[in-house]
């Protein structure tokens, strides 16, 4: 989503809404969360939500505007947004795009397509191919993705 934000921030506003944790330690924790050191219990109050949200922002230097759902999960309920979901609201305040339920139907490419239909496609250069690993590359530099 950050790439989409960077591509279209001159045309559209973006807002991230932090909702209840999907895989907290005291519920359905995933192995990947342990591996990535993203281990939090489900917040029981707003102060805990604020702390986790700030950890996220700092860790990823997340550039998109951020709001935290109330502890009664009002935004989540209004938008049926748990665990993750995308919407686009048009200038008249109506739903212009409704994404599918995450994680299985969470599809940022659909939001990008909506923005592209209005403001044009933003193309990116394909990633450079990885250098071939041959004898001259065996210096420790290969595989670092630089």
């Amino acid at each position: 989503m950050v790439q989409i934000y960077n591509d279209y921030k001159e045309h559209a506003d973006f807002l991230t809404v932090y909702v209840r944790e999907a895989h907290p330690t005291d519920e359905w924790q995933m192995k990947s969360n342990v591996k990535d050191d993203v281990c939090y219990a489900q917040p029981k109050n707003l102060a805990q939500r604020v702390a986790i949200a700030n950890d996220f922002i700092k860790r990823f230097r997340y550039p998109i505007a951020f709001g935290i759902d109330d502890i009664d999960n009002a935004a989540e309920s209004a938008y049926s947004a748990w665990p993750e979901r995308l919407y686009i609201i048009d200038e008249s305040g109506r739903i212009a795009y409704r994404g599918g339920m995450g994680p299985f139907h969470y599809n940022p490419d659909e939001a990008r397509a909506w923005l592209a239909s209005r403001y044009g496609t933003v193309k990116h250069d394909p990633p450079a191919p990885a250098p071939a690993l041959n004898s001259s590359d065996r210096t420790g530099a290969a595989g670092k993705g630089v």
Binding site: V19, L46, I64, I68, E76, Y79, P83, R98, L115
Partner: protein
């Protein structure tokens, strides 16, 4: 006798279907523990919802990152399209 045999088969078929469904869920979720997590914690909270394209966007009050200020989603709409990204850290 026939009825008893029928119920024995019915129960056996039911158990086999139940086992197959659980194994399929385990495969989809990753492990029996994840299958339990999905059933216990995820499915009860996942809702398709009734919002449709063209509906008025609901409003909700949000807390800012400073933990003090509040704002409403609809305060951010009106001038340009607003892309709203719902999610969490984990």
């Amino acid at each position: 006798m026939t009825l008893t045999l029928f119920w024995k088969w019915a129960i056996a078929v039911f158990l086999v279907v139940l086992l197959a469904a659980f194994l399929a869920l385990c495969k989809m979720a990753g492990s029996p523990k994840d299958a339990y997590g999905m059933l216990r914690y995820a499915l009860p909270h996942m809702h398709r919802g009734n919002l449709k394209v063209g509906d008025d966007a609901p409003d909700a009050r949000l807390l800012a990152l400073d933990g003090t200020d509040h704002f409403h989603i609809r305060e951010r709409t009106g001038n340009r399209p607003l892309v709203v990204i719902f999610g969490s850290y984990t």
